[in-house]
Symmetry: C2
Subunit: 335 residues, 2 copies
Amino acid sequence: MKYVTIIDIARELGISKSTVSRALSGDTHNVKSETMKKIIDTAHRMGYQRNEQAVNLRQQHTKTVGIIIPDAMTPFFMTFIQHAQKELKKRGYQTIVTVANEDYEAEYEYLMMLTQSRVDGILMSVCHKDKNIEAYQQVMNRGIPIVFFDRTVEGLDASQVRMDDEIMSYFMVETLIRMGKRHIIHLAGPSYVIPAVNRHIGYRQALEKFHLPYDERYVLEGGLKFHEGAQAMQNFLAQGLEFDAVFCFTETTMVGAKNVLQNMHYRIPEDVAICTVSGTELCTFVHPTISAVEQPLKQMAIEASRLLTQQIEDPESPRENIVLRGEIVLRESTK
Amino acid sequence: MKYVTIIDIARELGISKSTVSRALSGDTHNVKSETMKKIIDTAHRMGYQRNEQAVNLRQQHTKTVGIIIPDAMTPFFMTFIQHAQKELKKRGYQTIVTVANEDYEAEYEYLMMLTQSRVDGILMSVCHKDKNIEAYQQVMNRGIPIVFFDRTVEGLDASQVRMDDEIMSYFMVETLIRMGKRHIIHLAGPSYVIPAVNRHIGYRQALEKFHLPYDERYVLEGGLKFHEGAQAMQNFLAQGLEFDAVFCFTETTMVGAKNVLQNMHYRIPEDVAICTVSGTELCTFVHPTISAVEQPLKQMAIEASRLLTQQIEDPESPRENIVLRGEIVLRESTK
DNA sequence: CGATATTTTGGGAACGGTTGCGGAAAATGG
DNA sequence: CCATTTTCCGCAACCGTTCCCAAAATATCG
C-alpha cells in the first residue's frame, strides 16, 4: 500500500539515509562496496523504487521533455513520435506527449501544462503558424527550450527541423509533367501551416518551369482532415473542369480526395494520377498504392531530439535550422 | 530563467508563504478576500506557475494516470486514448501515454516507469494475455489500481472493459452466411490476445449454427500487423481453395489481406466479401468501404476512466467487468 | 469596555530524496 | 607507533508545497 523509501532501507540496515542514497545512485567512490551490496540487495528485496517527484524537486530538472503535435490520426506524427521517444530515451529523457487536435487554444493549454510539470524542454509541431508565438517566446524566455519540427514557425530564435518541401514538391510535380500530365490539381493545405505554403510554392514553380499556366481554379483548399479533402474534390468536380492528375499536400486529405474520385469511377492511374507529399506506410495500404514524397522521419526525429537535449544541457548552444532531404517513391498511382 | 515560487510572492508582499499557498489554492474560508486578491494579482503579474513536483511530493498523489497500449498505429487505440484523456481530464487527472509496440518486455518497463513516476492508476490494453500477469498483480498489490480494456487479462481481481466480441462476431458471420456465403475465411489473431480468441469463437459458433463445416484450413493466423495479414492471405491463396468471404478479427490485418486480394484482381464485393471486427473510420477511407463491427469506443473510454478514478479515490470500490455492445455497420464490401 | 468568539495570519514540520562538509575509522608511510 | 592520508559515513540544509497549530487581529456581545 505504501512505497518504500530510502529511510525505510536505512532503518532496516541501521545506517543513514545519505549512505543509502549514495549507494543507490551508484556512487562507488564514496561507499564501501560491501555496504553498497548490502544496500542494493535490501532495496531490491523491499521493492524500492525511487520517487521521481522528490528527485525532480531536488535536482531542479525532470529529465523529461514534452511533445505537442496537432493531430494523432496521421501516421506521420505517430511515427515521428515513436522515433523521437526512442532517441530521447537513449539520451536519458522521458517524454510526455500531448495532442492539440488542430486547436491552438488546446495547444496553448498543453504548453502551460507542460511548463507547469516542469519539463526540461519541448518538441512541437504547431497548429497555427502565428496564433501562439508570444506564448512560445515567453516559454523560451523562461529558459525552456523549444524545438519545432515539420509545422514550424517564423521569426523565433528557436531550432527547427523540416523537410525541403518546395524542392520535393517541385520534383514531384515535375515527374507528373514529364509523364504528360497537363492539368494538375493541387490539393493544398491551409495557409497557416508552413509546409502547406512551401509545397504550394514548389507546385507553382514546376508549372512555371514547364510553361504551364497557373490556374487558381486548380488549387483546392483541402484543409487537413480526410473529409475536407473529400469535400474539396467534390467541389472541384462540380465545376466540370478537365484534369489528369492530383498533387496533394498531405496524405490524409489525399485519401479523402482519392475516395471521391474512385466513387465517381475515375480509374487511378489510367484516368487520373495521384500523388502526395508526406506519405507514410499508409500509401502502401490503400488501393492502388500511392506515389509520395516520403519524409526522412527517423532522421528528423533524431536531429530534433539532438538539438533539444543539446540546448537543455547547454542553453548557449547555437540554434540550428535543419532542412532535410525528402525522397520520392513512385508507386501504382502514377504508372 | 528561474521559476517564481510562493516564497517569492510572499517576500514581495511581505506576508507568509502559508497565506500565499492558501490564497492560491482558493481557500476563501481562511484568507481575507482583500489579501486573496492582492496575492492572485501579483502571482499573475510575476508569472507564477505551481510546481507540480512539489505538490505531488507533498500530497502523496500525482493526479495523473498512466495509459499503456500495445500499438500506436491502429486508429482504434488512438481514438480510445483521445476519449479517455478527455474523460480523465474532466475528472481532474492528467495522462501519460506509453506505447509498448507489441513487445511485452517494453510493456513491463513502461509499467515500472509509470509506478516510479507515481501515477495514481493505470489504464491498459495488454500485449500478451499471460506474460506480465505477476507484474500486474504486484502493482495492484502496492495499491495502484489497473483497469484493463479491450485486450484484457484473465484471473486478476481488476476491473475490465471490453466489447461482446463473441456475439458480434457471431452476428457478423451470420450476416455473411445469410448473404449466401459458404466458404468464409477467418483471418484470426494470435491466441495470446483475448479478443482474438473470442472473435474466433463467434465465427465458429455461427458456422455451427448454420451447419456449415468448420475447416481449419480456412482459419488463418493473421498476426496483428498489416504485413502479417497480407502474408496470411497469400499463403491461403497458394493453397488454391475455394472461398467467397473473409471475416477478419481486426482492421489492420484486414487491410493487408484486402490489398493482396485486390492485387490478384479479386473484385470486392463481387468475387469476395470482406468484413472485420474493430473497424474505425479507416474502414470508410479505403476503397471499397468495409463492413465492420464498430466498438463503442467512447463509451469504453468513459467507463474505463470512471472505474479507474473510482478505484483510485476509493480502493474498496468493487471491481467491475463491463461488456459493452458493439454495432454492425454494413458497407460496400458486403453488398 | 473587557471578555469571548471568530477570522486571518505566521511558524514550522513534513513529503523523499541529494549533496557539501566535517569527522571517525581505516589504511598508509616513515 | 605516531603522523598523515584516504576511505567511508552521518549531519543537516535544501528543493516548493501543504497543512496543523498557535498567535494575532478583528468582530461580537453582555
